[in-house]
């Protein structure tokens, strides 16, 4: 397998084969990020295609001293947020379709288990649609993609304190929405007591 830095360098020189391999490596996280922000798989696919085509055009300007993934996330998040703003608020968001290859390696999940996950996913997609685009983007990059706060700040072009604030708000909206609107999903004995500041 070719080194990523080599792939980027060759793609930046116009090597379409190297670029297509780069797309192959990065496409899942780009589609996933776009999906989590737009909440629509079709939109996520369109955004992802646009992101990679844009990347092909601007790759020559990439500074090798910086993290490539952060740069890619930045392009993806900006494109997804732009689309989200253009299309306006959504109605019901659709969970990702079941992928047979996504089943646990130790056997198929029970019907109850599958139902729980599906229901939880619908609940979270619905609650996440209430977050402001930047809040959602910060949450996706930090909690789902696992980026450190400073990388999230670079990707969103905001200060770290702003990212922390977005995360705090996003977690609060999700937690409260889950407890209020989907109480059946959280067993009473496991519900987290609210702190003084959250009341």
């Amino acid at each position: 397998m070719r080194d990523e830095a080599d792939l980027i360098r060759e793609a930046a020189r116009g090597d379409a084969g190297a670029f297509e391999e780069l797309v192959l490596r990065k496409r899942e996280r780009v589609v996933r990020t776009a999906y989590q922000i737009t909440g629509d798989l079709e939109d996520a696919r369109d955004v992802s295609q646009w992101v990679f085509i844009r990347l092909w055009k601007v790759l020559g300007r990439f500074d090798p001293g910086r993290r490539f993934d952060t740069w890619l996330y930045r392009i993806t998040v900006n494109a997804a947020i732009d689309l989200l703003r253009e299309k306006g608020p959504r109605g019901t968001l659709q969970p990702l379709p079941e992928d047979p290859s996504a089943l646990p390696a130790d056997g198929a999940p029970s019907a109850e288990h599958a139902l729980d996950l599906k229901e939880l996913q619908r609940a979270f997609l619905r609650l996440a649609s209430r977050l402001a685009p930047k809040q959602r983007a910060a949450f996706v990059l930090r909690e789902i993609e696992g980026l450190p706060t400073e990388e999230v700040a670079r990707a969103l072009d905001v200060r770290e304190s702003t990212v922390r604030n977005h995360l705090l708000q996003a977690r609060r909206v999700l937690r409260e929405g889950l407890e209020r609107e989907y109480p059946g999903l959280v067993p009473p004995e496991l519900r987290r007591p609210r702190t003084e500041g959250e009341r």
Partner: protein
């Protein structure tokens, strides 16, 4: 990963370990309940960690490949429509292939219209795809096969 990961410690794991921990959360109901009680966002991470369907990823790759190998791809000036351009190129390529394959097939079956064909003086059919030079971002592709003339005009500025 052996045992149950600490849901609150997921942030401290590297990418691979984090993925394993999230996959474990998908399988283990006890851990899921604990994650749900501790911080709902952990569960969101679990749900989102599910892989995207391979055919969707392949569509992305195919659209990108079609666009970058077309070379004449130009970003649209209308911001709201830029996302559809890549899909439009992929659709144009598919349309061209769908039209050309049956036409080419007909040309390779001379016996099919034997009664109507002139035995000696039949013109040699022309077949192929020709990119006609066009000014600006508009691309004109000549898909003429034999007596069937088809010209495809692609204007990236048009709404689909």
């Amino acid at each position: 990963m052996n045992g149950h990961p600490d849901p609150l410690g997921i942030d401290d794991l590297d990418e691979g370990e984090r993925r394993e921990a999230l996959e474990h959360l998908g399988r283990c109901e006890a851990c899921r309940k604990e994650a749900l009680a501790g911080d709902a966002s952990r569960l969101f991470a679990l749900l989102a960690a599910r892989p995207v369907q391979l055919d969707v990823l392949d569509q992305v790759s195919a659209g990108v490949a079609a666009a970058i190998r077309g070379e004449s791809f130009a970003p649209r000036r209308v911001r709201s429509s830029r996302f559809r351009t890549a899909s439009a190129w992929a659709a144009a390529a598919t349309l061209a292939a769908a039209l050309l394959v049956p036409l080419a097939g007909r040309l390779q079956q001379p016996g099919r219209d034997r009664a109507a064909a002139a035995p000696a003086a039949a013109p040699v059919p022309r077949a192929g795809v020709q990119l006609v030079a066009s000014p600006g971002p508009i691309q004109t592709v000549d898909l003429t096969v034999g007596e069937t003339q088809l010209v495809m005009i692609f204007d990236p500025r048009l709404e689909l």
